[in-house]
Symmetry: C2
Subunit: 713 residues, 2 copies
């Protein structure tokens, strides 16, 4: 159901309206009046006749005209009945301010559930509870009580009212940009993050979505929506609650699931979201991405007056993965013509005092530099905008001219300029002019660099978009009847774990390079199978009652001689019986021994937030000690599989070290995609664990496989 009538409400009932100026129910109406809300206001309070000159109604359902939205300022326990009344009236949505729901434990959770059910019954969409409110800056529907919020084209979605206040304050102090909407998500009880995202994605007045998230309940739907939205407009997101103390703080705060898994970061990035970690960078990133063209070639030039800032900027941009290419000979020659002989013109460009008497040299340099097709964007660092303060007041006029020219260069070249100026907080006229032309100005060098960084990140994402997948699982489509039967057979016996030969059979069925094991029920069979296989074999007990085969002496490796095989077959069976006398023993798996080489691991599991995910790592110490693994939310493409292998720190091992030839990465890619396919094909699968897979210079072989099914409903 669309949120249009909710977020663009033309009429609002204030439940809990009050004549007492210290009460929220008074302040809410006062704010709507002061901020000149363009719609209708209906105070609701059975104890009052009128509030602030408006007729006051005992109940929402007493209002004669239609009502789009209700702001509920009364305590938690009163909410379900009010929602019911709203529902009867045909109200489309309610903003619930009160805390005291899920975040306070069992009782609160029950109350939240009750409220939710009433809302669903009457099709009343609920924002919150436990929220600071919402604002529509277009029709001045301000239900928060923060006044004079700068208007603009950034939609703000926050799970913390204070973070929203921070960002709004920052916008008014440090920029000329502002907001189209603000939504305090609160407990995300009814309306979810992805629904807000869809709404803002479609809103023509929103050019970027800025999000502060502590936890979300529908991670996969969010990714699916984000994937679509980021093709149209940027999403900038800070996700907190990584640390134990942070999780606890978020928990007590919004009752949210702050413990989002470690896959979140890579999943967000894959959906095209700009993920921010330093809160200082959050609003500036949104400011830049909402108003400047992205950088298409990940390459930036730095323009400075004096070396220090340029040197630091080069370090930070390099850490961010942005290229700082040497300028072309032609560009360097042109710069030399206008700069003093002490200037450096390679990149960073240091005008070396060449601007002290004439700061318009920055516009001259910018024009030349952005003309270089190797340069995708420009970072100006130092004093620009403050030459009038630092040197002589008359320079301000020259800076104004330069600002006009810089603004036009951005438009003409469609390449962004970001400015660091230590006079940023002085808001000089040249700085105001730059901002007018969408050239942001920051006093933080770090923030200015990050802004260039996110413009490059966005450009690169849009360039590589074809490589993405849309986070939609196509359940069952690729399943095979024989595969379904393997799972059904296990289910028949109430087993959640497929036996090793069953798991391998399922893998083999879909083309995985699995060893050609055979199940022997007698020692003679085992000998015969071993002879057919040639070389050494391993024997492994097969029993639904024995999950950890090695621990009970159920696995024996490197056998060849007939008598050895017979003796070991019996030993393995005996060990199993000793472990569990009535064990259901299906036989002994005879497996040809794989040639030793590099071991890798592939695993899938179901993540609480995102659903099925996959993991890849190089086996042994790399995974166990160094936790050197990469994750993806399923399904994955072959390109994603390739990137997973490139992302781990031990990636060079796969390419061959010490003069060895490279390992067969194509075989591993196929195996990763195959695991992704299997999880899609068989919705019963909870976990796949291929450990180890031995990879060779040519080919790979799954040596051990474990597949766990979901609990049956």
């Amino acid at each position: 159901m669309s949120l249009d009538r909710v977020l663009n409400a033309a009429s609002v009932a204030i439940v809990g309206a009050s004549r007492n100026p210290t009460k929220r129910g008074y302040q809410a109406i006062k704010t709507l009046l002061d901020q000149q809300f363009e719609g209708k206001i209906y105070p609701v309070n059975p104890k009052e006749k009128s509030v602030l000159g408006f007729k006051c109604y005992p109940k929402v359902s007493d209002i004669e005209e239609p009502v789009d939205l209700a702001l509920i300022t009364t305590p938690a326990r009163t909410v379900p009945a009010i929602i019911e009344d709203c529902g009867k009236k045909g109200v489309k949505g309610a903003v619930i301010i009160a805390g005291g729901f899920r975040e306070l434990g069992v009782e609160g959770k029950k109350l939240e559930q009750e409220m939710l059910e009433v809302g669903r019954k009457y099709h009343v969409r609920l924002i919150g509870p436990n929220t600071s409110g919402m604002m529509n800056l277009k029709n001045n529907l301000n239900l928060v009580g923060i006044r004079d919020v700068p208007k603009g084209d950034i939609a703000l979605v926050s799970q913390s009212g204070n973070m929203a206040l921070s960002l709004i304050t920052e916008a008014s102090v440090k920029s000329q940009k502002g907001f189209s909407y603000y939504v305090g998500v609160g407990n995300e009880s009814d309306v979810k993050f992805h629904e807000y995202l869809e709404f803002f994605g479609n809103d023509p007045d929103t050019k970027a979505v800025l999000m502060y998230v502590e936890g979300m309940s529908e991670g996969r739907k969010f990714l699916q929506q984000a994937y679509r939205t980021t093709l149209q407009k940027p999403i900038i997101l800070l996700k907190s609650g990584r640390s134990a103390a942070g999780k606890q703080s978020a928990g007590s705060h919004t009752g949210s699931l702050a413990g989002m898994s470690e896959v979140a970061h890579s999943a967000f990035e894959r959906a095209g979201i700009i993920v921010i970690e330093n809160p200082d960078e959050l609003f500036p990133a949104a400011e830049c991405l909402s108003s400047l063209p992205p950088i298409k070639n990940n390459s930036v030039a730095i323009l400075a007056d004096g070396g220090g800032h340029a040197t630091i900027a080069a370090d930070i941009l390099t850490d961010l993965g942005v290229r700082i290419p040497e300028l072309s000979k032609k560009t360097q020659a042109r710069l030399k013509e206008i700069l003093p002989f002490t200037a450096s013109v390679r990149n960073p460009v240091d005008v070396a005092g060449g601007a002290d008497a004439d700061p318009s040299v920055f516009a001259d340099c910018a024009k030349i530099m952005l003309n270089d097709h190797e340069v995708g964007g420009l970072l100006i660092v130092g004093l620009f905008g403050g030459y009038g303060i630092r040197f002589a007041e008359s320079l301000t006029l020259i800076e104004e001219d330069a600002a006009h020219r810089l603004g036009k260069i951005v438009r003409k070249r469609n390449k962004p300029i970001v400015v660091h100026s230590l006079y940023s907080s002085k808001n000089t006229h040249p700085i105001e002019l730059l901002r007018y032309y969408n050239i942001p100005v920051y006093d933080s060098l770090n923030v200015a660099c990050k802004c260039i960084g996110v413009l490059a990140e966005r450009g690169s994402y849009l360039n590589e978009y074809h490589a993405k997948v849309n986070f939609v699982l196509n359940w069952g489509a690729k399943a095979k009847p024989a595969g379904r039967k393997i799972i059904e057979d296990a289910r028949k016996y109430g087993r959640r774990l497929l036996l090793e030969h069953e798991a391998k059979a399922l893998l083999r069925l879909h083309g995985a390079p699995v060893s050609e094991d055979k199940l022997a029920t007698t020692a003679e069979d085992a000998v015969r199978f071993a002879r057919e296989m040639g070389g050494q074999v391993a024997l492994k007990i097969v029993s639904p009652d024995i999950l950890h085969k090695s621990d009970v002496g159920g696995v024996k490796l490197g056998l060849k001689a007939e008598d050895e095989i017979i003796r070991t077959f019996n030993e393995v069976i005996d060990n199993a019986k000793r472990f569990k006398p009535d064990a259901d023993i299906r036989g002994v798996l005879v497996c040809p021994m794989a040639e030793p080489d590099l071991e890798v691991i592939i695993g899938t599991k179901i993540d609480d937030q995102f659903g099925p995910i996959i993991m890849f790592g190089v086996g042994g110490i790399m995974v166990e000690v160094l936790k050197d693994v990469s994750f993806r939310v399923l399904p994955i493409s072959s390109v994603s599989a390739k990137k997973m292998m490139e992302e781990i720190r031990s990636a060079p091992i796969l390419d061959g070290v010490r003069g060895n030839p490279p390992y067969d990465k194509k075989a591993l890619r196929r195996l990763l995609v195959l695991c992704s396919d299997l999880v899609e094909a068989y919705p019963d699968i909870q976990e796949i664990d291929l450990n180890p897979i031995i990879v060779y210079n040519k080919g790979a072989r799954v040596v051990d496989a474990r597949i766990l099914l979901k609990e049956e409903n």
Copy 2:
């Protein structure tokens, strides 16, 4: 020689004095007048009779009275003659503004050298060249031209004039702190970083030293001085030029050696320096460290109104390695008494609106929280200082009271408080009061967290100080005559590389666990030695003409049978002769084969900036692919050796993985310290390379050793 008469000069000659207001030689005198320099000013210019009312002298040596310092504003080529004139006059120091020296190549380098030699001859200490100047804020000796610099107790040492301007501007806008001195180090031609450091270490009016460094020429002396200074007062340092583009930028900027090695960061920290990477954090860190007590137990409490800021702060502090302990039951109970039931009191503490009508609750909470002995410092995040803006003007008065109380709590408990406030830039009276009490207030949550982080880092350093060493190498003290002879023998033949058996002999002499190899000159010897050793042996060619033994078939492993040993002995000799017919073959080394187990690597080398350093890593892929190594500047203590092993990512391997017992880390510690001792004992040693060392659960053995001597002078 002391810098006292230079940095505290009571009289200054301005060489290049001018009547033209656009010239530096005019501005310098004007600034001294405007800023009320307490000493004497002597303009020098042969073409002028007087400047700004002062008598103008043709040469410095024409001045009748004594002159402490000369500011030279004339071009590079004029400088050596002026210094000579200064020297004849007995001037103690000169500040050389001009660029055009080393940073411009060979010609400039020559000029710089000439200038340096004149200065040395006449004992004139030189600041710069290529500097923005220096300032003494105590006697208003302002030779920079930045006006109204806030005074205070931070000494600023910067290799970039613009970074100095940034930091000074930031101080005046965002704090009540300021500077005792500023020195623009420029090319660091004569006076070095460590000399400034020594001076400011001894200056009673300086409480912290803030440094921006692009490169330094005497890294080890700097560490030695820093090690002493940081026991008395904190040093805060940002080192730029890490990236290729940054290095190039720094190079063109100050002609400094920006390419400081990757050991710098750990060496700086070991000397007790607070190393900063984000320039936003540089001044705030100095502000806090100069005026607040350090945190003694690395444990911090967070106090917030609303969860968002607290959650992010908890994440950032956790990333910084600061503990956020749960508060004691008693503390929690006391907080509950004064906070609403929705408040969270574990840590972070969220007053949950409890301050909206009475922000003095922050002072109440702070008192209770800092009373908890588990809490070493307090971070307040959110709106404090702006409740009067956000809610009702009258709250400002309550905040003022709270600010007074917070200030007194810091003094009484000797524990720091740092405040994040989104109203920081409004400079409200409560915020001014906090700053008056040395409680800094930041609008950046990230910066506020970092400030708590550096206070904790400083406290931890001072606690653990006993574990440090002083970076002084005690050349030769531990050498042994037999060791000296090994090196002399190699020198005698003009060899820089010790032969394997010589390197091992040197190691063995100092107690290293080296295999008991024997040098065989005949196949019969080899057989006899192998028999005495028992087990398998390796044979390795010994020839000063063959450096890469394996490459020429000079190493054979795993030999046991007599005939095999004889055959292989001859083969190894033949291979050597085939490689180089006239090779000087000393024989074949018979080495008992070491049991395979975990391989580690220890190496030493001479770093350009810091002199001898040592490296440790787990062998093979960990070092080669993952570059998983730790570094220390030599000498190292046993405690440092332990930390080196703990720092690498693969450290858990040493503790035993997959249920294996731990490896003998004590044996490796001894070996690390022994290598440190060897480098000290034998100043001839350029590099030691022990690769591999095999470490066991008990003991370790150096399997291959390589020692390279320095080039002879």
